[in-house]
Subunit: 99 residues, 2 copies
């Protein structure tokens, strides 16, 4: 079942641009890993919130992607710049435009 994952995270002050760069640096391998959509955005109401909206072929594809060396390296690089406040939600995609 097509899997949707929404994630919001907060960076330490002044480090959002750098985290966004990391999040966008690893998109090359996403498609082969089973990712259908990966949207990275930032809130306009503060300088620290990043939102990621992802759609994957299945929940298992998403879980497997977290074990890839490039994903692990990106997470390790970003983690020190994050506050640890995450808000995530998964769901089942049923249709739409672009999926």
């Amino acid at each position: 079942m097509t899997y949707g994952f929404l994630n919001a995270m907060k960076t330490r002050p002044g480090q959002r641009d750098e985290v966004v760069k990391i999040l966008l640096s690893g998109t090359d391998g996403l498609r082969e890993a089973g990712c259908l959509l990966y949207v990275v955005g930032v809130d306009d109401t503060d300088d620290v919130t990043i939102r990621v909206s992802e759609v994957w072929r299945s929940k298992e594809h998403h879980a497997a992607s977290l074990r890839l060396p490039e994903t692990r390296a990106a997470i390790a690089a970003a983690m020190p710049m994050l506050t640890g406040e995450f808000s995530s939600q998964d769901y089942t995609v049923v249709g739409g435009l672009g999926v």
Copy 2:
């Protein structure tokens, strides 16, 4: 600036499938209206939550789409089946895969 909009809504018991059908029925005109992505999904943890993740060419395109007759008709049809509990968030899309 590319505009992202996340929306979660709750339906009255037993009416989620019908609301999903309405949300997916009006996707034909979305692209011409400036919509880049429109993902409709449902939570697995309950029977009443629907999540929509949208990406538009601009905030203005999204606002204009809400004034289209077909959008207004879809909202009018769905509204009686919703509880009125919405949780929405907009943001600026900076990149990714599929956008």
